[in-house]
């Protein structure tokens, strides 16, 4: 070895495997992760849908009736049902991951993960019941 030998950042003989464009199909967990990421588009769709509803309501009865009619079209039904499935996936995967991000202690003991996830689900159920009550119970 000569005294001038030195490491260089460029090593043409290292083999670098290119990451496939379809890497997310290689494993079930990667695919589920991509679905979870895509579910943000479904959340965005519901925001747009809500804004359209508010706009129709604020415009007047005709616009609201028109919006209701449009909501019954195959396209709107497809978008809403598909988005609902994605949003449920988003919520479930989010709640299941919550115990990894949250460290809750009671005294010096860490609260087990299933209780943290469980409390998230319980909150979800309670809020859902409250919304159903507001919508369907004649006050």
């Amino acid at each position: 070895m000569t005294p001038n030998t030195a490491y260089t950042p460029y090593h043409p003989r290292w083999h670098r495997t290119r990451v496939s464009t379809y890497w997310w199909l290689a494993r079930g967990s990667y695919f589920l992760f991509i679905l979870r990421e895509l579910s943000s588009l479904a959340v965005a769709w519901f925001v747009v849908y809500l804004l359209m509803l508010i706009s129709a309501v604020s415009t007047g009865n005709d616009a609201y009736q028109q919006f209701l009619h449009w909501s019954g079209t195959p396209f709107a039904l497809f978008m809403n049902i598909g988005s609902f499935v994605f949003v449920v996936l988003h919520a479930v995967t989010w709640f299941n991951l919550a115990p990894q991000a949250m460290v809750v202690k009671v005294g010096s003991k860490r609260v087990p993960g299933f209780l943290i996830a469980g409390s998230n689900y319980a909150g979800w159920v309670l809020v859902s019941i409250a919304i159903v009550a507001i919508l369907f119970i004649q006050w």
Binding site: W14, H15, W24, Q100
Partner: protein, 247 residues
């Protein structure tokens, strides 16, 4: 259980090949043999040119990480018999450049590890006469899980984000930063936060969670990163609401 098993081993000889080739070796398969024993058998009895890293043989040194049938594994803790009747495919860790056969280049990881200052940082040391820095068992429990990391890099190999963006600091380095942040003797959390709150730090992680699944020491790097994100977000809120207190 079959008495022999075939290992399909990735070979990359840069002096004569530009792509990874697979060579098959038929080996005995006693129930106590791990994949590393199979590789040692090949090296000792069949083909002495096979290159791979290993050292302790007991899941401490973190040298012998490879892909076994596509999964990042410590080969010293992966039994051949579990894959019988085979074949078993052994490849170098994914997401790292391959130097030769099963040996990958780890300089990128070593550089990132040093960046997060994985040591106890003190503003000032107390005099020796005051004795050691004592910890309660609860204080030890705060960081013990993260201190189990052996730098085996299986988490980097499992992380698709690191594969797509090599600038991402990565799971083990962040988990080790968190190990020192949670240590009651350490005062370097703010310094580490500056490094890890950059784009290539904690925010590069999209919580795929595979790092935690493959970790042989149950370190839960994904958990460490999410806790770090929560902490960073809380500090941002604090600085926003109480700008003077944050200074």
């Amino acid at each position: 259980m079959s008495e022999r098993i075939t290992l399909q081993v990735a070979r990359y000889r840069p002096e004569k090949e530009s792509e990874i080739q697979f060579e098959s070796y038929e080996l005995p398969c006693p129930k106590e043999w791990v994949v590393l024993d199979g590789l040692n058998h090949i090296k000792d009895r069949i083909d002495g040119t096979l290159s791979y890293r290993w050292s302790c043989r007991m899941g401490i040194c973190g040298s012998c990480g490879m892909l076994v049938n596509g999964e990042p594994k410590l080969t010293c803790a992966t039994f051949l018999a579990d894959y019988a009747p085979g074949p078993v495919r052994v490849e170098p860790l994914r997401n790292f450049p391959v130097i030769r056969d099963l040996v990958v280049e780890i300089g990128d990881f070593m550089g990132k590890l040093a960046r997060v200052k994985p040591w106890i940082v003190r503003d000032s040391e107390k005099p020796l006469s005051e004795g050691e820095y004592r910890q309660t068992p609860e204080e030890l429990d705060n960081y013990k899980q993260f201190s189990m990391c052996i730098n085996c890099m299986l988490c980097y190999s499992a992380c698709p984000i690191y594969g797509l963006d090599p600038h991402f600091i990565g799971p083990a380095a962040i988990a080790l930063a968190q190990r020192y942040n949670l240590d009651s003797r350490d005062q370097g959390a703010a310094e580490r936060m500056q490094i890890l709150s950059e784009h290539d730090g904690i925010w590069g992680c999209t919580f795929v969670g595979e790092c935690t699944k493959v970790c042989p020491k149950h370190v839960d790097p994904a958990g460490a990163i999410q806790r770090y994100k929560l902490q960073a977000a809380m500090e941002w809120v604090k600085a926003f609401v109480l700008p003077r207190a944050a200074q």
